[in-house]
């Protein structure tokens, strides 16, 4: 397949909305480099799958980028020290989704010294793909768009699966967040390199990068960086949430529909986030493991919103301090974007590999859920990108009829939050569905 087969216009997925995007807070400016902290609380399991095993103990000295936890099995990635210093206690801190998680303390010595660097592959085009794949794993790279699934696993599909297209998610459809936007503007060459490395690992040539139209600078930067590479195509997409949803993005760019319950590889696609690609390029070309990421700190209460290159293990409290604190009362603290992020009750939660944003919402921006009566107005049904009968599902789940919920395909819900955004009655639909999905999974497991 060649790029000239590409559609002139991307496909339009059904449903979707365009919420007030709030990106203006952080569109301008560049990625800021914050000062070094005295202490980092590094969450040990930052990937989906098996938690890596800590191999340092209290009092050990570590260097920046030194591997401090070894992967266990294949679906696991190592962890690296964010700075040089000594290892402190291992204790429980609150995790991004509420459950307590184990974290190791790294006390900085202020020197910020790199450890022995890994081997660099500046000439990655002529490097063995197994070496590149191993590097992706050794650098601790996971899906940085939010899923935190180990990238090396994604990049080694079963041999019987034929992958022909690498789909790159630069849509950043979540309102408020601009981390990927800034990354694309400032490090377009890294992203393109990362895309090339991924394509090489997957032994394919066609790379499609979907970017929403509201990021013209990013599109320009990517096009400049990809100049001369015919197989890498940057496709501007309509500004519509959830344009960056895996299935929606694949449909928009290739017109292929991932079947319910299926994976992108079923239709020959592989989806990677731009931040992940930048990390891959950094790891392969410069030999640096994943120890920091770009985080958007934004929201109307934030005194000085902006994008920061934050080391993993930085408490949210510190990041907010860098951003000048708050200038009005805050009602919600969210890790991630406003549509799919997690509300936090504590400022001690730390930045991890999948934290794309820290969002504060003021009292005037937060509307309480009311569990009002469903009017069956059908706004949710119209807007659902997965074409679910949300109003029926919502009522069914409210009555805890999980058998009916399963019949109505609740398992296909991707929790994008649109149905809840548009609901005039203020029903917490997503929470209903999350619960229903958990219950149904538990029921099926018991059977």
């Amino acid at each position: 397949m060649n790029s000239h087969h590409l559609p002139l216009r991307p496909h339009r997925f059904e449903g979707g909305i365009h919420p007030a995007d709030g990106k203006a807070y952080t569109t301008d400016g560049t990625i800021r480099i914050p000062p070094l902290l005295e202490k980092y609380q590094l969450v040990i399991q930052q990937n989906i799958g098996v938690s890596p095993l800590l191999k340092v103990k209290k009092g050990d000295t570590v260097k920046k980028g030194q591997q401090i936890a070894d992967p266990v099995g294949n679906i696991s990635v190592p962890l690296h020290a964010p700075t040089s210093g000594t290892v402190g206690d291992v204790h429980d801190i609150s995790g991004a989704n509420g459950a307590p998680v184990q974290a190791v303390e790294i006390i900085a010595d202020g020197k910020d010294e790199w450890c022995e660097p890994m081997e660099c592959y500046p000439d990655w085009r002529n490097t063995n793909r197994e070496l590149l794949l191993a590097r992706v794993k050794d650098a601790g790279i996971v899906g940085m768009g939010g899923a935190s699934f180990p990238t090396h696993v994604k990049l080694s599909p079963p041999p019987e699966r034929e992958i022909d297209t690498l789909v790159i998610n630069g849509a950043e459809c979540e309102p408020y967040l601009t981390a990927d936007d800034h990354l694309m503007r400032e490090q377009a060459d890294r992203i393109i390199t990362g895309a090339g490395i991924c394509a090489k690992i997957l032994k394919i040539s066609c790379v499609l990068i979907g970017v929403e139209e509201n990021k013209p600078e990013a599109i320009r930067a990517l096009r400049t960086a990809a100049k001369g590479q015919k197989d890498i195509v940057i496709v501007p997409l309509k500004v519509r949430y959830p344009q960056g949803g895996e299935k929606q993005l694949i449909y928009a760019l290739t017109g292929r529909k991932v079947l319910a319950g299926g994976l992108p590889m079923d239709v020959g696609c592989e989806v990677q986030n731009v931040a992940t690609l930048a990390a891959i390029a950094e790891a392969a070309v410069e030999g640096r493991p994943l120890i920091e990421r770009v985080v958007t700190v934004t929201g109307s209460p934030v005194a000085d919103p902006g994008n920061y290159r934050v080391r993993l293990g930085t408490p949210v409290r510190k990041v907010l301090e860098w951003a000048g604190g708050i200038r009005k009362e805050v009602r919600k603290l969210i890790l991630g974007g406003p549509m799919m992020g997690f509300a936090q009750s504590s400022l001690e939660v730390t930045v991890s590999k999948n934290t794309s944003g820290i969002l504060l919402l003021g009292a005037d921006e937060v509307r309480q859920f009311e569990a009002g009566p469903c009017l069956s107005c059908g706004r949710c049904v119209e807007a659902c990108p997965m074409r679910l009968l949300v109003s029926t599902l919502s009522k069914v789940c409210e009555n805890e009829r999980y058998d009916l919920a399963d019949e109505n395909y609740v398992m296909n819900c991707m929790e994008c939050g649109i149905c809840t955004y548009v609901c005039p009655a203020g029903r917490p639909n997503v929470q209903h569905f999350r619960r229903a999905k958990a219950e149904i999974r538990a029921l099926k497991r018991r059977k």
Binding site: K257, K332, P424
Partner: protein
């Protein structure tokens, strides 16, 4: 290989300890499920917008029937709100009258009755609408039947005489005998029964008067123009989709046209049926009631077609001259079945999992 920027930075160590900047206080943060932002639209707003869209019809009603219209509209709205408040009080539940849904029901009910309706029938009608059709089912959102339509049906069946006593229209189409006293629908079906000529009802002059509202009828049924202005408002506010009203109106047109082709003389033409009676009001304001209509677009079309057919059958062959509210209530009863059969398949759904899109080819 060189990249355009350097991320390796030597930054000063930030001292630990409390800083001076203001940070969110623990204990004040709200924990809730995503999404964290929501539309500003709420139920009260929707109800207010619908009432606003009914304003042209109300103005026409007041213009035609003067104080009678004001009296019936106010009575119905007050009684409906009153029943709702009373119910909430008696059942010791949260007062729901503020969502304006009861007032809207009252307004639609008022537009569905004769301007000469005595006050006690307004009271009974409001009772049927709010208590029997809505609150015993659990209140707003739970009722399977349209409250205003149920109330109108109950009044029509239980108190046919007061419901069909029409006020003479001060400004009406005076030179049509009988038209001012009875609604054109009644007059037409009587003429048809006596096998008299129906040419009058198909005349351009009559239809024009019916369109702008110079004919008798229930408060909101007189002027199709006013209803259409209101309907434009509904569409503008994004409150309704056109699937249901268009299905109703098209079905009525086609059905009446076919009947006229098959056996001419038993009923006036399609335009007459569209412009007189409650078809316009029903199609745009009652059939589109969120709670009692199907949620999918396909379901809406089926529902609209059903209403169209039933209303024509009742008008042409039944003993009631007008069948809009009957049709709406009957189709309301069918909505759960329609919802069952007119569902959407989820994205990527396939009956046989064998289907795989062809590789290496972009459609």
């Amino acid at each position: 290989m060189e990249f355009s920027d350097k991320t390796d930075n030597k930054a000063p160590v930030q001292p630990a300890g409390q800083s001076a900047v203001r940070l969110p206080e623990a204990g004040t943060l709200v924990l809730s499920s995503s999404p964290h932002i929501r539309t500003s639209l709420n139920i009260t707003k929707i109800m207010a917008q619908v009432m606003l869209c009914l304003l042209p019809a109300v103005i026409m009603a007041v213009y035609h029937y003067r104080w009678n219209a004001v009296r019936v509209i106010l009575l119905c709205m007050i009684f409906c709100a009153g029943w709702e408040m009373l119910w909430c009080k008696v059942m010791r539940q949260k007062q729901t009258v503020r969502d304006l849904s009861a007032l809207l029901t009252g307004l639609i009910l008022a537009l569905n009755v004769s301007p000469l309706l005595p006050w006690w029938l307004c009271l009974v009608g409001s009772f049927a609408a709010i208590i029997i059709a809505k609150q015993v089912f659990g209140g707003l959102g739970q009722n399977p039947f349209n409250p205003a339509a149920v109330a109108r049906v109950a009044l029509l069946v239980g108190a046919a005489r007061p419901m069909t006593t029409w006020a003479p229209l001060p400004s009406a189409f005076q030179h049509l005998d009988g038209v001012t006293a009875a609604t054109p629908l009644t007059a037409a079906s009587q003429s048809a029964a006596q096998q008299a000529s129906l040419d009058l009802y198909n005349s351009n002059e009559f239809l024009w008067n019916a369109f702008i509202g110079n004919i008798g009828g229930s408060l909101g049924e007189t002027s199709s123009l006013a209803i259409l202005i209101g309907a434009a408002g509904l569409l503008l506010f994004g409150l309704i989709r056109l699937y249901i009203p268009l299905a109703v109106l098209l079905t009525v047109t086609v059905f009446v046209w076919i009947v006229n082709q098959v056996s001419p003389g038993i009923t006036p033409g399609p335009l007459f049926h569209l412009l007189t009676g409650g078809v316009m009001l029903g199609a745009f304001f009652m059939a589109t009631d969120y709670v009692t209509s199907p949620v999918t677009h396909l379901g809406g079309v089926v529902y609209g077609i059903g209403i169209g057919i039933i209303v024509c059958v009742i008008r042409i062959w039944g003993s009631f001259p007008e069948g809009m509210s009957f049709a709406i209530v009957i189709m309301n009863a069918l909505v759960p079945l329609i919802d069952k059969f007119c569902y959407k398949r989820p994205f990527g759904w396939n009956p046989v999992n064998a289907f795989q899109p062809r590789r290496g080819e972009i459609k």
